[in-house]
Symmetry: C2
Subunit: 426 residues, 2 copies
């Protein structure tokens, strides 16, 4: 029988819309890696009776119940108390947790305060799960023939506790052979429904025992092919190959990837080719530069960026002729070409991106509505340009322009000779 | 009796760690506004039997069950099918949904494909909930004396459907008087446990019927004071006033705020004062500029930003003397002052931020470890500087440097004469 893992997330902030739950992702990824799947996730508020009832109920059907959150120093943190009540034991100042707190505070030159000390009052009989980075230790108990593990809500602390403590323990306690075979494809530039239509159209005999899943993580779209039949493993690779042929250079990587945007693919491509890039940004206002420089090692490929928001600064920083701005406007093919050439001259970089557009919500005209953007990209030899209309809210527009312009340079670097799907639709 | 709202979120991508659930936040905010609170959230995979069982079970105890996700065109979208099975009715091509799809496709010059058409096959007897922006309509059914409402997983579509259709309907069906009184304080610069300790220390008689909650939303921290006792409403304001005195200029706003970072507070402050700002960024690589320009109306306060990543470009774009770089290094008080003056000269802006630091993971030395940063901020008359050590992962470091430098300018603009809490700790 498959091991049943249930997650109980607690916190008013998760119920009342104040906080986004990102911890679930960590649980899922790390548990999946050892062949354990999450059957159910339940989220409730910081309410003692509710917490006690859920712990009692969920522990009846789950083999492993992981409770997340509520270990903090503040009065709304109730997990230790709830677990003690649910299991009908007392709380006590747990020596190991107390020692951990004292060390934690010493290292930081902090005097332990009353709220901190609360984090060492734990249910009698629990086992401590060390926390390498934070003040709150985790702890576990057996109850109703279920292993209950209490974990901190702070993502960075949870991450280490999971990887270093909980996963190795669970792997030992619940060894499993059943593993899903899966292949992930990281794509950019085709939407989910277009992609599904493409698959239906070009690969009508798609086998039923190979699941195809989509994960839209703006701006990327991940395709996940998976099967639970051991016999279908070979077929998995065959169908992956067929998808590859259909999708061409829309595929940025095959396999799992922690890369969240196109910049993360472009920086290593540039670094491997010993090439540098500069950016001249109007409507994206520094977003392209910041995505490039968010990546460790960016200094090898990036020396400078020009955020020229006003016309005046386009002329001053990038030598865009006033006549170009006057005759064609700031959002024009001529202006982005001049911006691109200006940035190449000023920075001596190999590649360049220049963008000028109308991010909105104001500033649109009939000819150039909100969402209009000209992108120029290339190098000393050739500058290409393209107009898109991306009528999205301001920040979404900025993200899309950034992703497409980085993708256009990526395609240049890999010598792609296919037109991206987004050229057909906008 | 209070109306019980339960949310059932469906999707493999929510279970296997592929997607972050942001829709919960929308549900919570919009339901809270009409006095409806969410009692429980359950998340399960795209698995037909599981979906059917949860719909049957949750509908037995909830007054309102909102199902989110699984309305899409792809084969892993199962909500309509599951609801039909759970309620023991058939699926049929629903005429209103079919018409909606045809209009949706016409407007976009798209030919309806088979996956799209699936979105119009709905349970017999359901009522349609219009979707203003997407291809999938919502739908509702009564079952087990529970109102079941199926909603799209795409956040932008859900947002409009909730605001325009579902909330008005629920407000009509479930009028409620019970409303929590609450006051929110938006703060920056003090951590959660320091804040709790401060409250315990300075306000030891904090009343038990006023809840204090913390929402950490990097880089902001929101405090939420709330009470459900009508008699405590006055006290709520009194205790809020006491907190205000303790927290001083760490409070950026009182009341609800959709602002997610310090830039969103700074831009209107600058605009109201008719002042402009420029930025000279090394280690933040464009992030400060991009946070400022992400805000509608930024062009009134921002003309240009200089992303000077290399030493050479600091000299070329900002006239930082080579001797300064040579004698003091790029990460030094002298360099950030020269960068700030150079940016003011080049842009003719009123205010300036200049930052230079070591974002890591490489590049640290014993004297200047990873996380070191010098910030200069001010105007033509005065440039102030400050050194911080923020030994966090690269992107977290960049976010913190950006937030602090924007906060330092904010404090200058409001003529604050108190030292921020972060000056004491780093």
């Amino acid at each position: 029988m498959t091991t049943k893992v249930t997650i109980l997330l607690t916190g008013n902030e998760l119920m009342n819309g104040d906080v986004i739950d990102t911890n679930s992702i960590m649980f899922a990824n790390q548990l999946n890696d050892i062949g354990l799947g999450i059957v159910k996730k339940v989220t409730i508020a910081d309410d003692l009776p509710l917490l006690i009832r859920e712990i009692q109920q969920l522990s009846q059907t789950a083999d492993i119940l992981i409770i997340n959150g509520g270990l903090g120093p503040t009065t709304d943190d109730l997990t230790a108390q709830a677990l003690a009540k649910a299991c009908n034991v007392d709380l006590h100042l747990q020596p190991q947790a107390h020692l951990h707190l004292k060390n934690w505070a010493n290292k930081r030159n902090i005097k332990l305060n009353e709220p901190n000390l609360k984090q060492a009052h734990l249910p009698m009989g629990c086992e401590i799960v060390p926390n390498a980075s934070g003040s709150a230790v985790g702890f576990s108990m057996r109850f109703n023939n279920c292993l209950i593990i209490c974990t901190p809500g702070v993502p960075s602390e949870l991450k280490h506790m999971l990887a270093d403590e909980i996963i190795p323990t669970l792997q030992h306690l619940f060894p499993t052979n059943k593993k899903q075979s899966l292949i992930r494809l990281q794509t950019f530039g085709i939407g989910e429904s277009s992609l599904q239509a493409l698959v239906n159209d070009k690969l009508p005999n798609w086998p039923t025992d190979i699941d195809i899943g989509f994960r839209s993580a703006m701006p990327m779209l991940e395709l996940k092919l998976s099967t639970e039949c051991p016999e279908s493993e070979k077929a998995l690779t065959q169908w992956k190959n067929k998808l590859e042929q259909i999708l061409g250079d829309h595929i940025l990587a095959i396999g799992e990837s922690k890369k969240q945007n196109v910049a993360e693919y472009l920086v290593p491509l540039l670094a491997n080719a010993n090439q540098t890039i500069t950016v001249a940004e109007s409507c994206t206002g520094g977003l392209i530069a910041s995505q490039l420089t968010a990546i460790a090692g960016a200094s090898a490929v990036f020396e400078a960026g020009f955020v020229t928001y006003s016309n005046n600064m386009k002329t001053k920083m990038l030598a865009v002729p006033s006549s170009t701005l006057l005759n064609h406007g700031a959002v024009s093919k001529e202006t982005v070409i001049a911006m691109a050439r200006g940035a190449l001259n000023a920075s001596k970089s190999d590649y360049v991106i220049a963008v000028s557009g109308i991010a909105g919500p104001d500033g649109g005209t009939k000819d150039k509505p909100v969402g209009s953007v000209w992108i120029a990209w290339g190098n000393k030899e050739t500058i290409k340009t393209k107009y898109y209309c991306l009528p999205f809210p301001r920040q979404h527009f900025q993200q899309m322009v950034t992703a497409r312009s980085l993708d256009l340079v990526r395609r240049l670097l890999i010598n792609s000779n296919e037109a991206p799907h987004y050229d057909h639709i906008s």
